[in-house]
Amino acid sequence: MTTTDSKLETTGVSTSAGTGSRGSRILGITTIIAMGWLVAFGLGFSPEDRDQREAVRLLYVHVPTIWIAYLAFVVTAIGSAMYLFTKKKSLGWDRLAGASAEIGTIFVAVTLVVGALWGRLTWGVFWQWDARLTTTALLFVTYIGYLAVRQLGGTHEQRARRSAVIGLLAVLEIPLVHWSVRLWRSLHQEATVLGTDADVNMDGLMLFSLFVGVVAFTLLYVWLLMHRTRGMAMEDYLDDRGLDEALEARRAEGEPVARGDGAN
């Protein structure tokens, strides 16, 4: 709370419109262009698959979203580790971890829904208690739990400490999800690109379309992360200020009573 004392004295004016900056605007426009490319390649230029036929077009959304979710959760773990193991204990690392987990959870949700639709097309069912599907659902539930823990009461430091521990443990699920198709017998196909062998058995245009999807969703992830961390920084500032103002008001209430007692 000591840092907010100086903030209370600052009665600056707000002139900015929000969490945007020149960099985020450029990134936002680039993301929209990349998404346009994804639609063009994913739904147009990419050829149909020999086995999956047109359903292969779901690959360009399904695979990038889960890869970016993995990336987001790794960033959460890095932010968590930086908060726990550095001397400064900057809440900026905690906010980075929290924002990244939030975005990663949304991407896992998208993966699960698109995967269910793809499953209906190829397997004839929306859901199976298959190793890959179940571990992915478990990953989703774990990060819902992580986000719930962040909402528990206490100071920002308490929030940061307890969520950092969970952030570091939860990331261990990623290898389990990724290797589940090899560890157990699974309906889900094995990795085409990130497999154990370096060989990628995929048509060139399909691979390029997948690459466009990965780039588009990575840009989107960075853009969302920028806006969310900035939003969280403002939420924390207003939280601190609200608490300090409440304490000031409480002290002010107490003063006349104390003087009154002294007079009697």
């Binding site: 903030k7 600052t10 009665t11 600056g12 004016v13 707000s14 002139t15 900015s16 419109a17 929000g18 969490t19 945007g20 900056s21 985020s24 998404m35 639609v39 994913g42 739904l43 036929r53 047109e54 359903a55 077009r57 779901l58 959304v61 399904h62 979203t65 975005i103 949304i106 949700a109 998208v110 829904v113 698109v114 639709l117 793809w118 209906r120 097309l121 989107l220 853009w223 969302l224 920028m226 806006h227 969310r228 900035r230 939003g231 920084a233 403002m234 939420e235 500032y237 207003l238």
Partner: protein, 44 residues
């Protein structure tokens, strides 16, 4: 295109979901920014 409903539906759903989240972040950012002085906004 075979199974067009599922394929277009998946793309539409994906863009709707991420679009909704993006819109929510921007809107809440704008609402918060009105109450926070500029010197607290490190991105400016």
């Amino acid at each position: 295109m075979e199974d067009a409903g599922f394929i277009f539906g998946s793309y539409l759903l994906t863009f709707a979901a991420v679009g909704l989240v993006a819109w929510r972040y921007v809107r809440s950012g704008r609402r918060l920014a009105r109450r926070v002085p500029d010197e607290e906004k490190y991105w400016l």
